[in-house]
């Protein structure tokens, strides 16, 4: 008999994913490095000094500034995002197809560019309410996207049953419609909270002092590492609180559908005489969120446009931004593979716990990641790697790792193990099956994961400012340098390129994720904004 017998390593059944597990654990260790070294640093600072730093008046002011902003912006975004989603998805408001597009695009504009646009048009604005206005306009789509998806897929029969049970239209909206979208609203709101916590650039431009702006100043300007560390601890704690509260608030409510009957498409509510008002409201939202920042950038370019040729440094910065984005995208996507593979193919309690541990990064703002990595390289690696390309890429990969995991997992779920088995049973070799079945099925999802991290990286400001190698400027750092000097018209072209890079493909990715299961919508929503945030699903 001239058959070949496979060696022991490739036998099914006896197969334990040892290599994968080792890789997944190693990746997780790297991802948790910022969190670990934040704690190490805090221990080194010592409790006496920490206490002194934590319980001073300034800290109280900063926490109040930050928390009140988070609360107000989150509340406004929840209301605006949900209402906008309801009008677009469930009413006969005119031009709803256009609004479905226009209302989402602001997500692609980096928050600090929105802030910059408003500041350029209205130089006198600043303070708490300006921060509320700008952040709400920049991030409400984080609520809009998941809620719109959830309203689209919700079963209209529930609303009809509520009406038949004697509930009025408004009570039906509150109890049934909002109830159906509750998980989506909550998920979006938590994302908004995490984004506001982590935001730095927008507040710095508006002159509004929060934990992040103070950490940045203590560290970059005052070189006061202990103070930066103490405030970072508070920031991470607040983020963790938000993450935990999501689990807590979500509760046990599930949107159950009994039976396999297909849900019908929801019927739209006729607005009647309220139509013009609804139209005006949505139009105002688009003007404020999209028109103002984009208009400001264009008017700045036109005003300052003596030379029609963009400066050479714009091309160099664009090239650097693309290079960093691509590197971070590749690293994060590859690093996410072992954990995503384990969680799809070998879902066991230990694996799922490992996956959740990686989601902790969501609570760590990019600024804190950057500070922690700086501390690590200075104190433990004799400043090797400090301000180098690889360290910046690693920082990006860590910040956007949860995003990569969720997208890669969705990609792998598209190629179930059963397909590989069928392929092999047809007499095709394992490697050939991988190449002909698994790779083509998984590739689009992996490309999406790459694109998400790329977009995030391209519009990242804070960690880039702290960690970018001297002399290597990106769009974000150049923009920041010019706007810090008050050279708004010189900063504008950089802002424009960032908007173009992020908004257009970001919008397309958003639509792509819209067609994925609900969990992915939040990933998509997080992706098209300039944030490291993504709620642990």
């Amino acid at each position: 008999m001239k058959r070949e017998w496979l060696d022991r390593h490739h036998r099914p059944g006896s197969h334990r994913p040892v290599g994968l597990t080792v890789a997944a654990v190693l990746v997780s260790v790297v991802v948790l490095v910022p969190l670990v070294f934040l704690v190490v640093q805090a221990v080194q600072v010592g409790w006496a000094e920490l206490r002194h730093l934590l319980f001073r008046h300034l800290t109280g002011v900063l926490v109040w500034n930050t928390v009140s902003l988070v609360v107000v912006v989150t509340a406004i975004c929840a209301v605006v995002g949900t209402l906008a989603a309801w009008f677009v998805e469930r009413t006969d408001v005119p031009g709803r197809r256009w609004f479905a597009v226009l209302v989402v695009i602001p997500l692609g504009i980096p928050d600090f560019v929105v802030s910059f646009g408003w500041r350029a048009l209205f130089p006198s604005i600043g303070g708490f309410w300006a921060a509320v206005l700008v952040m709400s306009l920049a991030v409400y789509p984080l609520v809009f996207l998941p809620v719109a998806a959830s309203l689209r897929s919700a079963d209209p029969a529930q609303e009809e049953v509520a009406r038949s049970l004697g509930l009025g239209r408004i009570r039906t909206f509150w109890t049934v419609t909002v109830g159906q979208a509750r998980v989506a609203i909550l998920g979006g709101a938590i994302l908004v909270g995490l984004v506001v916590l982590a935001e730095f650039g927008a507040f710095e431009i508006l002159g509004y002092q929060t934990l992040t702006t103070e950490i940045y100043n203590e560290f970059q300007v005052g070189f006061n590492e202990p103070a930066a560390c103490a405030l970072s601890l508070i920031l991470v704690l607040l983020g963790a609180l938000l993450l935990v509260s999501e689990d807590f608030l979500r509760g046990r409510g599930r949107t159950a559908r009994l039976g396999s009957g297909a849900a019908r498409i929801a019927t739209r509510v006729p607005l009647g005489r309220a139509r013009p008002a609804a139209l005006a409201g949505l139009a105002l939202l688009v003007v404020l969120a999209l028109g103002v920042p984009v208009g400001a950038i264009f008017s700045l370019i036109v005003q300052g446009g003596q030379s029609t040729l963009p400066p050479a440094s714009l091309w160099i910065a664009t090239g650097n931004t693309f290079a960093f984005g691509a590197a971070a995208g590749v690293v994060a996507t590859i690093a996410a593979l072992p954990i995503a593979l384990l969680s799809v193919r070998y879902a066991r309690p230990g694996v799922l716990a490992l996956e959740r541990v990686n989601m902790l990064v969501l609570a760590v703002p990019g600024l804190v990641v950057a500070l922690s990595l700086t501390y690590l390289t200075e104190h433990f690696l004799q400043s090797r790697f400090y301000l180098t390309d690889p360290l910046l890429v690693v920082a990006y990969a860590i910040m956007f790792f949860p995003l990569a995991i969720v997208s890669v997992r969705a990609a792998i779920a598209r190629a179930p193990a059963g397909l590989e088995e069928v392929g092999r049973s047809l007499g095709v070799h394992r490697h050939s099956v991988t190449w002909r079945v698994t790779v083509p099925l998984v590739a689009p999802g992996l490309a999406a994961a790459f694109a998400l991290v790329f977009l995030e990286t391209a519009t990242e400001l804070t960690a880039t400012l702290v960690l970018h190698p001297t002399g290597v400027e990106t769009l974000a750092t150049q923009f920041w340098a010019y706007q810090s000097n008050g050279s708004f018209s010189q900063a504008a072209p950089y802002a424009l390129v960032m908007v173009l890079i992020a908004a257009v493909p970001g919008y397309m990715l958003g639509r792509w994720f819209d067609r994925q299961p609900e969990r992915m919508t939040q990933a998509g929503a997080a992706a098209v904004t300039g944030t490291p945030a993504l709620v642990a699903a």
């Binding site: 008999m1 058959r3 070949e4 017998w5 496979l6 490739h10 036998r11 099914p12 059944g13 006896s14 598209r414 179930p416 059963g418 397909l419 088995e421 069928v422 392929g423 092999r424 049973s425 047809l426 007499g427 095709v428 070799h429 394992r430 002909r436 079945v437 083509p440 099925l441």
Partner: protein, 360 residues
């Protein structure tokens, strides 16, 4: 074509024993159904035969070739030439129908004509360029079958291939698949939890229960002479009553009934099975007295549930009997009837020290 044999196969997942010594011989060119409740290990058995899983102990033979001995001998699944048709078809979603069917064919070989030939065999000639999502469930299932047959397999394994189809479609797809497999002449193994499917399609049926083959027989023999009450109840409805057997006749509350194939001692306590269609309804006074408890009309037949009576008083401890009648006027609940049993019944000796296995 080659037959298939499984000898003493066991398999546990962690502490859970799924297969506990399965023996099964599938003759060359036959169609065998493995019938079991969900969780009985039938899919695991199929996966072991296909080579996707390995047994903890036991042997798997393809013809006269030992392909897995639970030890060092293991033939990889891609070398077994076993066609596998999984639940829901599992077509490659990114490939057209033609490419799905041709997946296992080598590039140089006469791929295109072979694919066309196979698509014609399953009645989907014009569908080569379509994609799986453009097909109905039944069409997907037939493409999956064509894909499995493309490699000219020695054995075809079908893992509940019809369970995702709705009832109307199921019967026709079943008939199509059976026709194609007969024409191809392959040895076929079907796993199912649907006894109608097993009985109507297979040459022989293996009832898998508690990780072992409880009985292996032709459909008719299995239905008429189930090895125990559990198997009897699993294969259609069965009335189980107590009785005493002597000289090939069981004395029961339904009267003295001839027993076929009695294996117990010449006389003794027995459990007697009467199929619903063996009971005939007549006028009161003809045979045993009973009263109609309920009547369910199905068009082609009707199911009547009867409580036994003696002199107008419900018989204590008597089970409700299920009777299947075809034609005749509708019966009303509360109506008094007479019962008689047609043909020989099946009986098993009651072993007092051992509990009867019941189906899951």
């Amino acid at each position: 074509m080659r037959g298939l044999a499984v000898k003493g196969v066991t398999k546990a997942f962690g502490p859970q024993e799924v297969l506990r010594g399965v023996d099964l011989v599938v003759p060359d060119g036959s169609f065998t159904a493995i019938l079991g409740a969900s969780g009985s290990g039938k899919t695991t058995l199929l996966r072991i035969v296909a080579g996707f899983e390995r047994p903890d102990r036991g042997e798997v033979w393809l013809g006269d070739e030992l392909v897995d001995d639970a030890g060092s001998r293991y033939l990889a699944c891609e070398r077994r030439r076993i066609g596998y048709v999984p639940q829901e078809g599992a077509l490659f979603p990114h490939l057209s129908v033609g490419r799905n069917v041709g997946f296992g064919l080598s590039r140089q070989a006469t791929r295109r004509p072979r694919v066309d030939e196979l698509l014609e065999l399953v009645g989907l000639s014009g569908y080569r360029r379509r994609y799986p999502h453009q097909l109905s469930g039944g069409q997907q299932q037939r493409v999956a079958l064509a894909r499995a047959l493309a490699i000219e397999p020695e054995v075809v394994l079908l893992d509940e291939p019809f369970s995702s189809l709705d009832a109307a479609l199921r019967a026709s797809v079943r008939a199509d698949v059976l026709g194609v497999l007969r024409q191809a002449g392959t040895t076929s193994v079907l796993v199912t939890h649907d006894q109608d499917e097993a009985l109507s399609m297979a040459d022989q049926v293996a009832v898998l229960r508690d990780g072992v083959v409880a009985q292996l027989d032709t459909p008719a023999a299995l239905y008429r002479h189930p090895g125990d009450a559990g198997v009897a109840q699993f294969l259609g409805e069965a009335n189980l009553i107590e009785g005493e057997v002597r000289d090939g006749v069981a004395t029961t509350i339904l009267g003295r009934l001839p027993v076929g194939g009695w294996t117990g001692p010449p006389s003794g306590q027995a459990r007697v099975m009467v199929r619903p269609e063996q009971i005939e309804l007549g006028e009161v006074g003809e045979g045993i007295d009973g009263v109609v408890a309920s009547y369910e009309y199905y068009g082609h037949d009707a199911v009547v549930r009867i409580r036994l009576e003696r002199m107008g008083v419900p018989e204590p401890g008597a089970p409700e009997l299920v009777v299947r009648i075809t034609g005749g006027p509708p019966v009303v609940a509360g109506h008094r009837v007479g019962l008689s049993v047609r043909g020989p019944v099946v009986a098993w000796p009651v072993r007092h020290n051992k509990q009867e296995n019941s189906p899951e």
